[in-house]
Symmetry: C2
Subunit: 312 residues, 2 copies
């Protein structure tokens, strides 16, 4: 069954030795390797009522590729540790493998699954490790943002959260798969659900940002305010977001998780194509994240913050 | 809680950037990286009735370090993806972290946990990825054994299986932890149980074998006959084991799993210190593995194979 994944590895440009031995060997041309691991567990992280095998493979790959890109690195390889219930069908694992491959081909060409492990577990669990190469550049950490930099983002803000809300609202189920189709969703809603189930983070823009001189960068997985707050703390600065850049639902843009957008800071004038400016880096204030100069909590920006219904 | 692991990383000689960002950066001085992943799941792979947190951390590290060593590489880094039940105590995770660290310090100095992920799951699952550096050498695969080579091993044969048998025989339990102590085990038995719970594979001998010119190498995790059979198939040869080298319980030495010994083939005369010769590589025959020239099945060598009780 492990073979189902390892035979569908696609274009493994960086694999010097692929699956089949005790370990794989991956090219690390710049003499260092970026490495990250992220796990998806059935229940908290995905529901088989909504995600098929392909979706699960895709998402497991995408969220890990995104962490590599957030360092400014190019993804080179994935390792997949899969724990599946005994009754899992081979066809499900095959579809997962196709999801891994399709995500790599679409988001990080040349990266592929180079190794894996398959065990039996009552709880379907997908632990993926992604490796990447810095191509001779320094890693872009969270701690390099400086007052005077601009804050920019590449990718979605709040779209995945919208998709998750739609799934909960319209596709509640107690276990059986439900078809998520166009008969009950309009085009925008379908796009939001797709962003939740098969996210397409802007992996290739990680190295682009690094080359452009990004001073700090990270993957927005837990929501913009929470993650920007982490960058602000690591860098010892405050990030002030301009609410006019947040689109039609600013609260969701500020608090929605799982978009895997790339949040980066650049010297003014250095923002590369693909990123859009959403704010500015200020000297550290009491709060790490502001919106239009005002404090904003991790639960998201509240458009009614100063609204008092008794006074209007 | 993840911090409990990441704050106990020990001597991370190869970590250019440790935990705390989207990904770690690990030195890969020879321009390539060896990578492997292996998962331990509560139930099939360990029992909390027998293993405490320290044991689980140690074993999860050791089995992955062994796969790196089996390529002839020096382990440089571990990434730990931990999925734990909601009620798991912080102290358990802290003990696991100490187990990871102690195993690295004892078995692969300079290697340390550089990154991780913590999620909630009904099933305690530890997925570890190990990275390693080949120090400029070619990887030693399973496929390079040639007729005329000698077959050698470093590490235990059947000891871990003996330990597991003892645990099943004398410490059966339906969930509650049982003390595994000297009051019911003699010194040899205690050693066997320790080898099962906290294996000490000969990690440093992986690079030693590679430098000595090992033609093939692998980690013996599923038992000598099964794993030697894989090497024989990959190399297109037959491995003939000398039963006189198998110790007091040849059947267990042939079939017992989880010892994580290093099985290697060398040109005659090139066997380095730490390895002992257990057989010879022959041109391919019908069977991939022989014992004293006779077929031996994967279930292990049967000392009564030619015994007929009716004729004596």
């Amino acid at each position: 069954m492990l073979r189902a994944i390892l035979e569908r590895t696609g274009d493994a440009s960086y694999a010097l030795l692929g699956p089949g031995d005790d370990a794989a060997v991956i090219s690390a041309p710049s003499g260092s390797v970026v490495a990250t691991t992220d796990t998806l567990v059935h229940g908290p992280d995905f529901r088989l009522a909504w995600s098929n095998g392909f979706d699960l493979g895709w998402k497991s790959a995408a969220v890990n590729l995104s962490d590599v890109a957030a360092m400014g690195a190019r993804p080179t390889a994935l390792l997949v540790a899969l724990a599946v219930p005994r009754e899992t069908r081979l066809s499900f694992v095959e579809r997962m493998a196709e999801g891994f491959r399709a995500a790599c081909d679409a988001l990080a060409p040349g990266c592929a699954v180079v190794g894996g492990d398959l065990t039996v577990s009552d709880t379907l669990t997908v632990a993926v490790t992604a490796l990447g190469d810095l191509e001779g550049r320094a890693a872009v950490t969270r701690s390099g943002a400086r007052a005077g930099d601009v804050v920019a983002i590449a990718g979605n803000m709040g779209v995945s959260a919208r998709g998750l809300s739609l799934l909960f609202e319209r596709f509640r189920t107690d276990g059986e798969p439900v078809p998520v189709d166009a008969t009950v969703l309009d085009a925008g809603e379908l796009g939001a659900v797709a962003a939740q189930l098969r996210p397409e983070p802007p992996i290739s823009l990680g190295p682009v940002a690094a080359r452009a001189g990004a001073t700090a960068m990270m993957d927005v997985s837990d929501g913009l305010v929470l993650d920007a707050g982490r960058m602000a703390t690591a860098s010892g600065i405050t990030i002030d977001i301009d609410s006019a850049t947040l689109g039609e639902n600013p609260q969701r843009a500020l608090s929605g998780g799982e978009d895997h957008a790339l949040l980066a800071t650049f010297p003014a004038g250095a923002v590369p194509e693909g990123f859009r400016v959403i704010g500015a880096v200020r000297p550290r204030r009491e709060h790490g994240v502001l919106c239009d100069g005002e404090a904003v909590d991790a639960a998201g920006w509240d458009p009614y913050r100063d609204w008092d219904s008794s006074t209007g």
